[in-house]
């Protein structure tokens, strides 16, 4: 997005709220986790924007998002290791009320790739979702995850390779 600042957190919510929700949903496979994550991230953005230094806004925002996601997961699961258990039936049931029919149909069609994502080791899943679902550059992912660009490249490729083997 453009680097015109100061941004308000409402503007961030408007421009990125949906992406943040999808990030959390694809990582967790769980709409409730995704809901909580969006609210937590926007809270952190509201308090953090005052200290934002112009630079990579995407890297900054996704670092907040990534850390908030991990904190939420740790808080909920009481254990730092991922991935989540697969409970896609429950996910669909819990999502059924607010979701339009066509979205549900999409979810079912994409069940295999969502399941394959959920089976990935967390580091690879995170990198692949940031790259291929959210559309971040390697450099932005590098900032968000605080790892070298070469590691980003490696994780994306290994994540995709594992997905390929599961999507036969």
């Amino acid at each position: 997005m453009s680097e015109t600042f100061p941004l308000t957190w409402e503007e961030v919510a408007r421009s990125h709220g949906r992406k943040i929700y999808n990030y959390a949903y694809r990582l967790s496979g769980n709409p409730h986790d995704a809901n909580d994550l969006v609210q937590e991230v926007l809270l952190r953005v509201r308090t953090g924007l005052a200290e934002y230094q112009p630079g990579s806004f995407e890297g900054w925002l996704w670092r907040i998002t990534r850390n908030a996601f991990l904190d939420e997961v740790r808080k909920r699961r009481r254990r730092p290791s991922l991935p989540f258990p697969d409970d896609s039936d429950q996910v669909l049931a819990s999502f059924a009320s607010p979701a339009p029919d066509e979205v549900l149909a999409d979810l079912r069609l994409d069940d295999d790739i969502q399941k394959a994502l959920s089976d990935l080791p967390y580091e690879f899943r995170e990198a692949v979702v940031m790259c291929d679902v959210i559309g971040l550059s390697y450099e932005e992912i590098s900032i968000a995850v605080a790892i070298p660009v070469g590691t980003v490249r490696s994780r994306i490729h290994r994540g995709r390779r594992l997905l390929r083997e599961r999507l036969t």
């Binding site: 408007r14 992406k19 949903y25 790739i113 995709r160 390779r161 997905l163």
Partner: protein, 151 residues
């Protein structure tokens, strides 16, 4: 020695970086030279393209209504009324819109989230009779942030 000579070994993760447009020009040309003569790496590229296309085809889900229907409770809302909307009041409930209520003279009213909700409903019904003015602004809020975190 040509700087664009094909790489002697397989590309490995360079395939993904190539696909993503993340290689600098020299590396990119080297990768292309290698791909031209290496079935293994072309197959790898095809696999990566397949996976990436599947991921990119995932639908970008809409925010659920519970995240989009409310204004935040804690932060007072100070906004200048810009446009007066009468008939559109009913449509406002569906969008991520924050509304402010302006007095006839255009004074700005600060509302908490709860006040907002109540006033919003009152004004929305008043508006049917053109007595109140409901002004949707461009600002968007996503849920009751503070109670969501504390509660």
């Amino acid at each position: 020695m040509s700087s664009e000579r094909p790489l002697a070994h397989h590309l490995g993760e360079v395939v993904s970086a190539y696909l993503d447009g993340e290689l600098p020009p020299l590396e990119r040309r080297r990768a292309e030279s290698h791909l031209a003569g290496c079935d293994v790496c072309r197959d790898e590229l095809t696999d990566m393209m397949f996976v990436r296309a599947r991921l990119r085809a995932l639908p970008m889900l809409e925010l659920p209504p519970e995240l989009t229907g409310k204004a935040p409770a804690a932060a007072p809302i100070y906004r200048r009324a810009r446009v007066l909307v009468g008939a559109a009041a009913a449509a406002v409930t569906m969008v991520l819109a924050l509304a402010a209520v302006a007095s006839p003279g255009g004074d700005v009213v600060a509302l908490s989230g709860n006040e907002f909700s109540m006033t919003y409903r009152a004004r929305a019904s008043l508006d049917q009779n053109q007595t109140g003015r409901l002004v949707p602004l461009e600002n968007l809020f996503f849920g009751d942030i503070d109670s969501g975190v504390n509660g």
